[in-house]
Protein backbone atom coordinates (compact mmCIF):
# COMPACT_ATOMS: atom_id res chain seq x y z
CA UNK A 1 0.00 0.00 0.00
CA UNK A 2 1.39 3.41 -0.88
CA UNK A 3 2.11 5.68 2.04
CA UNK A 4 -0.22 8.35 0.69
CA UNK A 5 -2.99 5.76 0.91
CA UNK A 6 -1.96 4.95 4.49
CA UNK A 7 -2.02 8.63 5.43
CA UNK A 8 -5.39 9.00 3.72
CA UNK A 9 -6.81 6.05 5.64
CA UNK A 10 -5.41 7.27 8.95
CA UNK A 11 -6.82 10.79 8.53
CA UNK A 12 -10.15 9.43 7.35
CA UNK A 13 -10.20 7.29 10.46
CA UNK A 14 -9.86 10.43 12.55
CA UNK A 15 -6.15 10.28 13.42
CA UNK A 16 -5.67 14.00 13.09
CA UNK A 17 -4.67 14.99 16.59
CA UNK A 18 -1.02 15.26 17.50
CA UNK A 19 0.37 12.22 19.21
CA UNK A 20 -1.65 9.88 17.06
CA UNK A 21 0.70 8.18 14.70
CA UNK A 22 -0.42 8.78 11.14
CA UNK A 23 1.75 5.91 9.97
CA UNK A 24 2.98 3.27 12.38
CA UNK A 25 6.64 3.46 13.37
CA UNK A 26 7.28 0.07 11.83
CA UNK A 27 6.38 1.18 8.30
CA UNK A 28 8.73 4.11 8.72
CA UNK A 29 11.53 1.79 9.85
CA UNK A 30 10.90 -0.48 6.87
CA UNK A 31 10.96 2.49 4.54
CA UNK A 32 14.21 3.76 6.05
CA UNK A 33 15.72 0.29 5.66
CA UNK A 34 14.60 0.21 2.03
CA UNK A 35 16.29 3.55 1.48
CA UNK A 36 19.54 2.27 2.97
CA UNK A 37 19.34 -0.93 0.86
CA UNK A 38 18.69 1.05 -2.30
CA UNK A 39 21.64 3.30 -1.54
CA UNK A 40 23.87 0.24 -1.03
CA UNK A 41 22.64 -1.27 -4.30
CA UNK A 42 23.44 1.91 -6.13
CA UNK A 43 26.94 2.08 -4.65
CA UNK A 44 27.60 -1.57 -5.47
CA UNK A 45 26.26 -1.19 -9.01
CA UNK A 46 28.41 1.90 -9.53
CA UNK A 47 31.53 0.04 -8.39
CA UNK A 48 30.69 -2.86 -10.73
CA UNK A 49 30.09 -0.41 -13.51
CA UNK A 50 33.51 1.13 -13.00
CA UNK A 51 35.28 -2.21 -13.25
CA UNK A 52 33.23 -3.36 -16.24
CA UNK A 53 33.96 -0.08 -18.01
CA UNK A 54 37.67 -0.56 -17.26
CA UNK A 55 37.52 -4.02 -18.81
CA UNK A 56 35.62 -2.64 -21.78
CA UNK A 57 38.35 -0.07 -22.37
CA UNK A 58 41.04 -2.72 -22.04
CA UNK A 59 39.32 -4.87 -24.68
CA UNK A 60 39.08 -1.83 -26.90
CA UNK A 61 42.83 -1.25 -26.58
CA UNK A 62 43.55 -4.90 -27.35
CA UNK A 63 41.29 -4.80 -30.40
CA UNK A 64 43.13 -1.75 -31.67
CA UNK A 65 46.40 -3.67 -31.15
CA UNK A 66 45.18 -6.64 -33.17
CA UNK A 67 43.87 -4.40 -35.93
CA UNK A 68 47.21 -2.68 -36.19
CA UNK A 69 49.01 -6.03 -36.25
CA UNK A 70 46.72 -7.30 -39.00
CA UNK A 71 47.40 -4.19 -41.11
CA UNK A 72 51.15 -4.52 -40.53
CA UNK A 73 51.17 -8.16 -41.57
CA UNK A 74 49.07 -7.43 -44.63
CA UNK A 75 51.82 -5.02 -45.65
CA UNK A 76 54.41 -7.73 -45.13
CA UNK A 77 52.36 -10.19 -47.17
CA UNK A 78 52.22 -7.72 -50.07
CA UNK A 79 55.97 -7.27 -49.84
CA UNK A 80 56.47 -11.05 -49.92
CA UNK A 81 54.16 -11.34 -52.96
CA UNK A 82 56.03 -8.52 -54.69
CA UNK A 83 59.23 -10.46 -54.13
CA UNK A 84 57.53 -13.54 -55.61
CA UNK A 85 57.89 -15.49 -52.36
CA UNK A 86 54.57 -17.28 -52.44
CA UNK A 87 55.46 -19.60 -49.52
CA UNK A 88 56.34 -16.75 -47.16
CA UNK A 89 53.22 -14.87 -48.24
CA UNK A 90 51.08 -17.88 -47.38
CA UNK A 91 52.76 -18.19 -43.99
CA UNK A 92 52.10 -14.52 -43.30
CA UNK A 93 48.51 -14.95 -44.44
CA UNK A 94 48.09 -17.75 -41.90
CA UNK A 95 49.45 -15.42 -39.23
CA UNK A 96 46.91 -12.78 -40.30
CA UNK A 97 44.11 -15.33 -40.10
CA UNK A 98 45.21 -16.13 -36.52
CA UNK A 99 45.22 -12.43 -35.59
CA UNK A 100 41.78 -11.95 -37.10
CA UNK A 101 40.44 -14.89 -35.10
CA UNK A 102 41.78 -13.28 -31.90
CA UNK A 103 40.32 -9.96 -32.98
CA UNK A 104 36.89 -11.50 -33.47
CA UNK A 105 37.10 -13.13 -30.06
CA UNK A 106 38.02 -9.85 -28.38
CA UNK A 107 35.30 -7.99 -30.20
CA UNK A 108 32.82 -10.47 -28.86
CA UNK A 109 34.18 -9.99 -25.33
CA UNK A 110 34.01 -6.25 -25.71
CA UNK A 111 30.41 -6.41 -26.90
CA UNK A 112 29.53 -8.46 -23.88
CA UNK A 113 31.27 -5.96 -21.54
CA UNK A 114 29.41 -3.10 -23.20
CA UNK A 115 26.11 -4.89 -22.78
CA UNK A 116 26.91 -5.57 -19.12
CA UNK A 117 27.84 -1.89 -18.58
CA UNK A 118 24.55 -0.81 -20.15
CA UNK A 119 22.61 -3.18 -17.92
CA UNK A 120 24.38 -1.75 -14.89
CA UNK A 121 23.65 1.81 -16.00
CA UNK A 122 19.99 0.92 -16.35
CA UNK A 123 20.07 -0.72 -12.93
CA UNK A 124 21.60 2.40 -11.36
CA UNK A 125 18.95 4.59 -12.98
CA UNK A 126 16.14 2.29 -11.91
CA UNK A 127 17.41 2.10 -8.34
CA UNK A 128 17.88 5.85 -8.22
CA UNK A 129 14.27 6.36 -9.30
CA UNK A 130 13.18 3.91 -6.64
CA UNK A 131 15.32 5.66 -4.03
CA UNK A 132 13.75 9.01 -4.94
CA UNK A 133 10.32 7.43 -4.57
CA UNK A 134 11.14 5.99 -1.13
CA UNK A 135 12.48 9.35 -0.05
CA UNK A 136 9.36 11.13 -1.34
CA UNK A 137 7.18 8.76 0.66
CA UNK A 138 9.27 9.20 3.77
CA UNK A 139 8.99 12.97 3.32
CA UNK A 140 5.21 12.69 3.29
CA UNK A 141 5.16 10.87 6.58
CA UNK A 142 7.76 13.02 8.27
CA UNK A 143 6.16 16.28 7.08
CA UNK A 144 2.75 15.20 8.33
CA UNK A 145 4.36 14.23 11.59
CA UNK A 146 6.29 17.48 12.10
CA UNK A 147 3.30 19.64 11.20
CA UNK A 148 1.23 17.86 13.82
CA UNK A 149 3.95 18.27 16.41
CA UNK A 150 4.43 21.92 15.48
CA UNK A 151 0.69 22.55 15.74
CA UNK A 152 0.58 20.95 19.15
CA UNK A 153 3.58 23.05 20.30
CA UNK A 154 1.77 26.18 19.09
CA UNK A 155 -1.47 25.22 20.84
CA UNK A 156 0.45 24.47 24.06
CA UNK A 157 2.22 27.81 23.96
CA UNK A 158 -1.12 29.53 23.44
CA UNK A 159 -2.79 27.86 26.39
CA UNK A 160 0.30 28.53 28.58
CA UNK A 161 0.36 32.23 27.70
CA UNK A 162 -3.26 32.72 28.88
CA UNK A 163 -3.86 34.71 25.71
CA UNK A 164 -7.38 34.31 24.51
CA UNK A 165 -7.74 32.50 21.21
CA UNK A 166 -9.51 35.04 19.06
CA UNK A 167 -11.72 34.02 16.20
CA UNK A 168 -10.48 34.67 12.68
CA UNK A 169 -12.95 37.47 12.06
CA UNK A 170 -12.12 39.15 15.40
CA UNK A 171 -8.43 38.96 14.62
CA UNK A 172 -8.94 40.41 11.17
CA UNK A 173 -11.07 43.23 12.61
CA UNK A 174 -8.37 44.08 15.18
CA UNK A 175 -5.68 44.11 12.49
CA UNK A 176 -7.78 46.31 10.24
CA UNK A 177 -8.48 48.70 13.11
CA UNK A 178 -4.75 48.98 13.80
CA UNK A 179 -4.21 49.65 10.12
CA UNK A 180 -6.91 52.37 10.16
CA UNK A 181 -5.43 53.94 13.30
CA UNK A 182 -2.03 53.92 11.65
CA UNK A 183 -3.42 55.47 8.47
CA UNK A 184 -5.25 58.14 10.52
CA UNK A 185 -2.07 58.98 12.40
CA UNK A 186 -0.16 59.19 9.17
CA UNK A 187 -2.79 61.49 7.68
CA UNK A 188 -2.81 63.68 10.81
CA UNK A 189 0.97 63.91 10.69
CA UNK A 190 0.78 64.88 7.02
CA UNK A 191 -1.79 67.60 7.67
CA UNK A 192 0.32 68.94 10.50
CA UNK A 193 3.38 68.96 8.31
CA UNK A 194 1.50 70.80 5.58
CA UNK A 195 0.39 73.44 8.07
CA UNK A 196 3.92 73.81 9.32
CA UNK A 197 5.22 74.24 5.82
CA UNK A 198 2.53 76.92 5.18
CA UNK A 199 3.78 78.90 8.18
CA UNK A 200 7.36 78.60 7.16
CA UNK A 201 6.48 79.76 3.66
CA UNK A 202 4.88 82.86 5.10
CA UNK A 203 7.95 83.54 7.21
CA UNK A 204 10.14 83.33 4.12
CA UNK A 205 7.83 85.65 2.16
CA UNK A 206 7.82 88.14 4.95
CA UNK A 207 11.59 88.28 5.26
CA UNK A 208 11.75 88.82 1.50
CA UNK A 209 9.26 91.68 1.87
CA UNK A 210 6.55 89.86 -0.11
CA UNK A 211 2.92 89.64 0.91
CA UNK A 212 1.10 91.56 3.67
CA UNK A 213 3.61 93.32 5.94
CA UNK A 214 3.20 94.47 9.55
CA UNK A 215 3.49 98.22 9.85
CA UNK A 216 6.83 99.08 11.45
CA UNK A 217 7.54 102.25 13.48
CA UNK A 218 9.74 103.64 10.73
CA UNK A 219 7.09 103.17 8.06
CA UNK A 220 4.52 104.92 10.27
CA UNK A 221 6.93 107.82 10.88
CA UNK A 222 7.58 108.03 7.12
CA UNK A 223 3.84 108.27 6.54
CA UNK A 224 3.47 111.09 9.13
CA UNK A 225 6.43 112.96 7.67
CA UNK A 226 4.89 112.73 4.22
CA UNK A 227 1.55 114.09 5.55
CA UNK A 228 3.29 116.94 7.36
CA UNK A 229 5.29 117.88 4.29
CA UNK A 230 2.15 117.98 2.16
Amino acid sequence: MSLLKKIFTAIRGGATEAGEAIVDANSIRILEQEIRDAENHINKAKQDLTSVMAKEMQSEREIEGFKKQATDYEGFAIEALNKGDETLATEIAEKIAGIEAELALHEETKTSFSAHANRLRELVKKTERQLAEYKRQLTMVKTTDSVQKATSAISDSFSNSNSKMMSATESLERIKKKQRDFDDKLKAAETLENENSDTSLEAKMKSAGIGPQNASASSVLDRIRAKKGA
Binding site: T16, E17, A18, K135, L138, T139, K142, T143, S146, V147, Q148, K149, A150, T151, S152, A153, I154, D156, S157, M165, M166, S167, A168, T169, E170, S171, L172, R174, I175, K178, Q179, F182
Partner: protein, 137 residues
Protein backbone atom coordinates in the same frame (compact mmCIF):
# COMPACT_ATOMS: atom_id res chain seq x y z
CA UNK B 1 19.89 25.36 8.46
CA UNK B 2 18.12 25.67 11.80
CA UNK B 3 15.31 27.76 13.22
CA UNK B 4 17.61 30.03 15.26
CA UNK B 5 19.80 30.75 12.26
CA UNK B 6 16.76 31.67 10.16
CA UNK B 7 15.54 33.98 12.93
CA UNK B 8 18.94 35.72 13.14
CA UNK B 9 19.13 36.11 9.37
CA UNK B 10 15.62 37.58 9.23
CA UNK B 11 16.62 40.10 11.91
CA UNK B 12 19.57 41.21 9.85
CA UNK B 13 17.54 41.88 6.71
CA UNK B 14 16.98 45.47 5.61
CA UNK B 15 13.40 46.57 5.94
CA UNK B 16 12.95 46.99 2.19
CA UNK B 17 13.84 43.32 1.65
CA UNK B 18 11.11 42.48 4.14
CA UNK B 19 8.61 44.16 1.81
CA UNK B 20 8.41 47.08 4.23
CA UNK B 21 7.32 45.07 7.27
CA UNK B 22 8.92 44.78 10.68
CA UNK B 23 9.15 41.28 12.06
CA UNK B 24 9.04 40.15 15.67
CA UNK B 25 9.83 36.58 16.39
CA UNK B 26 9.97 34.06 19.16
CA UNK B 27 10.92 30.43 19.25
CA UNK B 28 8.27 28.07 20.57
CA UNK B 29 9.99 25.11 22.17
CA UNK B 30 8.60 21.62 21.82
CA UNK B 31 9.23 18.26 20.25
CA UNK B 32 9.26 20.19 16.99
CA UNK B 33 10.72 23.70 17.34
CA UNK B 34 8.62 26.41 15.75
CA UNK B 35 9.55 29.98 14.89
CA UNK B 36 6.63 32.33 15.45
CA UNK B 37 6.90 35.46 13.32
CA UNK B 38 4.60 38.41 13.91
CA UNK B 39 4.42 41.18 11.37
CA UNK B 40 4.07 44.46 13.23
CA UNK B 41 0.43 45.47 13.28
CA UNK B 42 -0.68 41.94 12.47
CA UNK B 43 0.22 40.23 15.74
CA UNK B 44 -3.16 38.45 15.91
CA UNK B 45 -2.36 36.25 12.93
CA UNK B 46 1.29 35.24 13.09
CA UNK B 47 3.20 33.08 10.65
CA UNK B 48 4.74 29.90 11.99
CA UNK B 49 7.86 28.48 10.45
CA UNK B 50 9.04 24.93 10.93
CA UNK B 51 11.73 22.80 9.34
CA UNK B 52 11.44 19.28 8.05
CA UNK B 53 14.16 17.09 6.51
CA UNK B 54 13.42 18.44 3.07
CA UNK B 55 11.62 21.77 3.32
CA UNK B 56 10.83 24.94 5.20
CA UNK B 57 7.14 25.09 6.02
CA UNK B 58 5.42 28.40 6.72
CA UNK B 59 1.92 28.17 8.16
CA UNK B 60 -0.74 30.64 9.24
CA UNK B 61 -3.79 29.39 11.07
CA UNK B 62 -7.02 30.89 9.84
CA UNK B 63 -9.99 29.60 11.79
CA UNK B 64 -11.17 26.64 13.78
CA UNK B 65 -13.80 24.16 12.71
CA UNK B 66 -16.09 25.62 15.40
CA UNK B 67 -16.06 29.06 13.73
CA UNK B 68 -17.60 27.83 10.49
CA UNK B 69 -21.30 28.39 9.84
CA UNK B 70 -22.30 24.78 9.45
CA UNK B 71 -24.71 25.17 6.49
CA UNK B 72 -22.09 26.99 4.43
CA UNK B 73 -19.26 24.55 5.06
CA UNK B 74 -19.33 22.66 1.78
CA UNK B 75 -19.53 25.89 -0.21
CA UNK B 76 -16.61 27.20 1.80
CA UNK B 77 -14.58 24.08 1.03
CA UNK B 78 -15.31 24.44 -2.68
CA UNK B 79 -14.34 28.10 -2.60
CA UNK B 80 -11.08 27.15 -0.92
CA UNK B 81 -10.35 24.65 -3.69
CA UNK B 82 -11.25 27.22 -6.34
CA UNK B 83 -9.12 29.90 -4.69
CA UNK B 84 -6.06 27.71 -4.17
CA UNK B 85 -4.34 28.46 -7.47
CA UNK B 86 -5.14 32.20 -7.68
CA UNK B 87 -3.58 32.65 -4.22
CA UNK B 88 0.11 33.36 -4.83
CA UNK B 89 2.68 31.03 -3.19
CA UNK B 90 0.29 29.68 -0.56
CA UNK B 91 -2.22 26.86 -0.40
CA UNK B 92 -5.14 26.09 1.89
CA UNK B 93 -4.93 23.22 4.28
CA UNK B 94 -6.34 21.86 7.51
CA UNK B 95 -4.42 20.54 10.46
CA UNK B 96 -6.64 18.81 12.96
CA UNK B 97 -9.55 21.20 13.41
CA UNK B 98 -7.61 24.26 12.25
CA UNK B 99 -7.87 25.61 8.73
CA UNK B 100 -4.68 27.19 7.50
CA UNK B 101 -2.70 28.60 4.63
CA UNK B 102 0.80 27.36 4.10
CA UNK B 103 3.76 27.61 1.79
CA UNK B 104 6.69 25.24 1.44
CA UNK B 105 10.18 26.38 0.52
CA UNK B 106 13.36 24.55 -0.36
CA UNK B 107 15.92 24.27 2.43
CA UNK B 108 18.27 26.15 0.09
CA UNK B 109 16.08 29.26 0.02
CA UNK B 110 17.71 32.61 0.69
CA UNK B 111 16.66 34.71 3.68
CA UNK B 112 15.05 37.15 1.21
CA UNK B 113 12.97 34.29 -0.21
CA UNK B 114 11.87 33.30 3.28
CA UNK B 115 10.97 36.90 4.18
CA UNK B 116 8.99 37.28 0.94
CA UNK B 117 7.17 34.03 1.68
CA UNK B 118 6.29 35.19 5.21
CA UNK B 119 4.88 38.51 4.02
CA UNK B 120 2.96 36.90 1.15
CA UNK B 121 1.56 34.26 3.48
CA UNK B 122 0.44 36.91 5.95
CA UNK B 123 -1.22 38.91 3.15
CA UNK B 124 -2.91 35.77 1.88
CA UNK B 125 -4.13 34.83 5.37
CA UNK B 126 -5.77 38.25 5.89
CA UNK B 127 -7.28 38.20 2.39
CA UNK B 128 -8.55 34.67 2.87
CA UNK B 129 -10.30 35.50 6.14
CA UNK B 130 -11.81 38.60 4.56
CA UNK B 131 -13.17 36.83 1.49
CA UNK B 132 -14.34 33.80 3.44
CA UNK B 133 -15.92 35.77 6.26
CA UNK B 134 -19.43 35.03 4.95
CA UNK B 135 -18.85 31.41 5.95
CA UNK B 136 -17.63 32.30 9.45
CA UNK B 137 -19.47 33.09 12.64
Amino acid sequence: MDIKKIAENLDRLDVDTRDGYDFDHQIIPGEEEVLQISLRGREEIPVYLTLTDTQILCISYLWDESEIIEETKSEMMEMMLDMNIPMPLSSFSRIGSKYSVFGALSLNSTTEDIAHEIVTLSDNALDAIEVMSDFLK
